[in-house]
Symmetry: C2
Subunit: 94 residues, 2 copies
């Protein structure tokens, strides 16, 4: 199993817009990617950061996720709402 | 949903022992806690850190987890294998 955490600092006042864009993306991920077992948006209380917890069957499923048309199409909109560089970490299950 | 990441720096050479102790704990968590939807151990390539990705139905499920006898019983053994202070983060799903 491959685990991913994506820490996304969102601009103040852009939270609702970010949640809407991300929510639409997550719907497509969950509807189309059998190899993706978790793709869920969280907030860290007291910080502007959102965290996406992700879980994939294997590296191939993660790679395929990053190449889907809907994922690529969402990046400009999501990127425009960030207040800094995302911090992405990829883990391998034991 | 409540998400948790627990970053655990393990002492060099103690990885196998840590994985065994944690694996036994995870088995009990998965067998006993309906409110825990994910309790999975990962490694971060190139670092001594392990990461536990956790997911709970709500705060009550997380609180109950931390009070189980088997969780409390595992802490001395796990703690003795760490090389530093764990970094625990708790998130709320959007």
């Amino acid at each position: 199993m491959i685990g991913v955490t994506a820490r996304l600092p969102v601009q103040a006042g852009k939270e609702a817009e970010f949640e809407a864009v991300f929510g639409a993306l997550a719907e497509k991920v969950n509807a189309n990617e059998a190899g993706c077992h978790l793709y869920e948006l969280y907030r860290t209380p007291g910080t502007p950061d959102y965290i996406v917890l992700e879980r994939y069957a294997d590296r191939a499923a993660l790679d395929a996720h990053g190449k889907t048309d809907y994922f690529l199409a969402a990046q400009p909109a999501l990127g425009g709402l960030l207040a800094g560089v995302p911090k992405i970490e990829v883990f391998e299950s034991v």
